[in-house]
């Protein structure tokens, strides 16, 4: 189970939290405003009331020990930068995701040690631009991958002793066997970069590689099960 600490309870954090499966994530909400804390508690979330400016307080909720991911969702960019800096000093492995209000804060947050910057306005702008430019594709993704229909994007890590080990990407034939489409592969031995299947056609798979696949949930589950099974080949 992953432990996620969310600083700042607002509309954005509400959306994120509601999309995380409580079975896989333990979520802790931290906010300075008691009203927001009460709101989060009403929504059935675990909360903590600490001062994010104090390192001791941060340690007390598990940063540097139990927490895997930190979401800096304060409205003020300066608060997010401060929190990112403090948290990064406490734990160099922590996955920090921060939102920004003004675009020039992005560099500051990255310099402070954030792993991922989310700019809601930029995302919204890009989305609208996409709708204007490629309405068909945007519609499909909105209804399927991002929407209600059962079509998902998933990543599957190749475990040890998988039957797929040492086989070629071109021989997977996921579309025929599982009704899945292989989008790309991350070859962990070389780099973290994602290689799209279409360009690097033949590639021998090895343990730790990540396959990015698209398809219905049932098929994804079936594929995941088979990948872990050593003897599936026969």
């Amino acid at each position: 189970m992953k432990q996620v600490a969310v600083f700042g309870y607002n509309r954005l954090s509400y959306e994120v939290v509601s999309r995380l499966d409580p079975e896989n994530y333990r979520i802790l909400i931290i906010d300075l405003d008691p009203v927001q804390i009460a709101l989060a508690r009403d929504n059935g979330l675990e909360t903590a009331s600490i001062d994010f400016r104090s390192d001791e307080d941060l340690k007390s909720i598990g940063i540097g020990s139990g927490i895997d991911t930190l979401l800096c969702f304060f409205d003020q960019d300066s608060d997010n930068v401060f929190l990112t800096l403090s948290a990064r000093a406490l734990d160099s492995e922590l996955n920090i995701i921060a939102i920004i209000d003004s675009p020039e804060s992005a560099e500051k947050l990255l310099a402070a040690g954030a792993n991922k910057i989310i700019d809601p306005y930029e995302i919204c702008g890009r989305k609208i631009h996409d709708m204007l430019k490629r309405p068909d594709i945007t519609d499909i993704f909105d209804h399927t991958v991002f929407g209600q229909h059962d079509l998902h994007l998933a990543e599957v890590v190749l475990p040890e002793n998988s039957y797929l080990e040492n086989s070629y990407a071109s021989h997977l034939e996921l579309s025929a066997k599982y009704n899945l489409i292989l989008i790309g592969i991350v070859n962990k031995q070389i780099s973290d970069k994602l290689h799209f299947v279409v360009e690097e056609f033949d590639r021998r798979l090895s343990v730790g590689d990540i396959l990015v696949i698209l398809g219905p949930a049932r098929e994804i589950r079936a594929f995941k099960r088979d990948v872990e099974n050593e003897f599936c080949k026969v």
Binding site: R11, N95, Y121, G125, D130, E155, V198, E199
Partner: protein, 534 residues
């Protein structure tokens, strides 16, 4: 008898197609701002006027001979024709006569042809005394030999230029907007000149060797002094006269300052209107553009992306600060409230706008602008932003085609990143065109080589393309599995190799940009070749 004939002629003209058409054509040429002919005609006239003035100046010291005479005659003929045509299209005499006739018949009184003609003539006179018509006439008259003395008025041809340029009209608009102030000033100035010239005449006329011998000298001195020109050819000698001069100089300084400030204030007031007029004029030239209502953070992102695509757009915002920012980026911007009908209409919502984006940070404004846009244009595409989830339905009710929830989209991406960072990067990379790999659609056009082919025959793998699925509204495909309803169409995910393509289907493929382009070119080529051979 004559009146009957005239009425008959009027009816004939009204029903005559050729007459109405030719009148319309002349109107297009001379007055219709939207007609392309007018701009050609204006350019031609400007050239002609400038050339005739050049001849006039050259003629002062040189003899232009027969060529000059011919040219002068040609110019004159063109000017006279223009004047008469303008007089012709200014009003419809036959309509006026008919109206009078019908009125007389309706009221059962005797129809007086003289009365009707008089009304028509008054209408024409109205044109003759309008400023532009007078200038036109003054440009023609001096060419008439007995009136050679009026040669000075040939310079009026230069004033004719004003007719063909909008800036002159603007200048007169500005002056007329300050009519009251300027009139007050003029009255005061006249009074001052009058007092000054009378008093200087009284004081200085009696002086021996004095320069002011009559009232005109006094008036001339007053004007020269008042305008601070002061040639010094006439100077007062008496103490009283000098006192008059001192008072006149100080007062006139005040008047000049007042006059300048009125003009500057008027220009300043008109400046935004001027700018906006330029924007409107530019918009009128575009066939298809996007209206962006609200230039906040989201608006800025979209504007930057659209300008990268070279897509035309106009921004409407009521906040000064945002408008300045947009202007700094060089975008077309209208400083106004987008919820007002006339603002959207003049921005071109009923003419060239393909899409309206309502993306302010305030849901109330977005709903209102959406509603206004939908009311003004039934077919325009409207994309609105909503900040609170409970308002989504209100926006759809107001007529939005799409509603975007920025926090939902960002939240979704954040959650996706948390769970599956690699997949997240892949999909955002493809969707936002950040990688060389892109996802595009390819239409199966009628008669294309793709039509009636099985997916398996396309050999997309060899072309280094991956087929995600097919979008189609064709009910023939409904038997296939893995279909997802997307609006009125279905998306067939990962179709089997036996899937037969029909026309109007759309392939969703992803691959390198140039592989997709190459594939598309091939398909298009084969379609054109196929048509030729058929």
């Amino acid at each position: 008898m004559i009146s009957k004939l005239i009425v008959y002629a009027a009816y004939y003209l009204k029903s005559s197609d050729a007459y109405n058409k030719s009148k319309k054509a002349v109107f297009d040429l001379l007055e219709n701002q939207r007609s392309p002919w007018k701009s050609y005609f204006d350019m031609f006239m400007i050239g002609l006027i400038v050339l005739s003035i050049v001849f006039l100046i050259y003629d002062v010291q040189h003899d232009t001979g027969a060529v000059g005479d011919y040219f002068e005659h040609t110019v004159l003929v063109v000017f006279v024709c223009e004047y008469l045509l303008r007089l012709w299209i200014y009003s419809d005499t036959h309509i006026i006569i008919l109206q009078e006739h019908e009125r007389a018949q309706y009221l059962n009184i005797r129809f007086s042809i003289l009365n009707a003609l008089w009304k028509a003539i008054v209408k024409k006179l109205e044109y003759i005394v309008s400023p532009f018509a007078i200038i036109d006439l003054l440009a023609i008259l001096p060419s008439y030999r007995p009136l050679r003395i009026l040669r000075i008025f040939l310079i009026f041809r230069l004033f004719k230029l004003f007719r063909y340029s909008n800036s002159a009209k603007l200048f007169s608009d500005i002056l007329s907007s300050k009519r009251f102030e300027l009139l007050t000033l003029l009255v005061f100035t006249c009074l001052l000149i009058f007092i000054a010239s009378v008093s200087i005449y009284l004081f200085e006329n009696s002086v021996p060797d004095g320069k002011i011998n009559n009232l005109f000298d006094a008036f001339y001195w007053a004007v020269v002094t008042m305008t601070t020109v002061g040639y010094g050819d006439i100077v007062p000698y008496t103490t009283a006269g000098r006192l008059v001069a001192i008072i006149l100089i100080f007062t006139s300084l005040g008047i000049l300052a007042f006059f300048t400030s009125i003009l500057i204030a008027a220009f300043n007031e008109k400046m935004p209107v001027l700018r906006e007029n330029r924007t409107y004029a530019e918009l009128e030239r575009y066939k298809s553009f996007i209206i962006i209502c609200g230039y906040g953070r989201v608006g800025q992102e979209i504007a930057a992306l659209l300008s990268k695509d070279k897509q035309k757009f106009v921004i409407i915002d009521k906040q000064e600060q945002n408008v300045d920012l947009a202007r700094k980026h060089g975008y077309m911007v209208i400083h106004a409230d987008a919820s007002k009908n006339e603002v959207l209409i003049s921005a071109g919502i009923c003419r060239g706008a393909s899409t309206v984006l309502c993306i302010t940070g305030d849901d109330v404004t977005n709903v209102y602008v959406t509603l206004t846009s939908r009311y003004l244009n039934k077919d325009v595409r409207i994309i609105s932003r909503v900040n609170f989830n409970e308002n989504v339905n209100k926006l759809y009710q107001a007529g939005a085609d799409h509603v975007i929830r920025p926090f939902e989209v960002s939240g979704l991406l954040a959650a996706e990143f948390l769970g599956q960072p690699v997949a997240f990067e892949a999909i955002t990379g493809i969707l936002q065109n950040q990688t060389e790999i892109v996802m595009e659609t390819l239409l199966v056009a009628e008669g294309s080589s793709l039509e009636n082919k099985q997916i398996g025959q396309l050999e997309l793998g060899q072309k280094k393309l991956t087929l995600l699925g097919v979008i189609s509204a064709n009910p023939i495909h409904l038997k296939h599995k893995n279909k997802y309803q997307v609006k009125q169409q279905h998306f067939y995910f990962n179709p089997e190799p036996e899937f037969v393509l029909r026309h109007e289907d759309m392939l969703v493929i992803f691959g390198r940009k140039y592989s997709i382009d190459h594939f598309r070119d091939q398909v298009e080529q084969s379609r054109l070749l196929g048509r030729k051979s058929a």
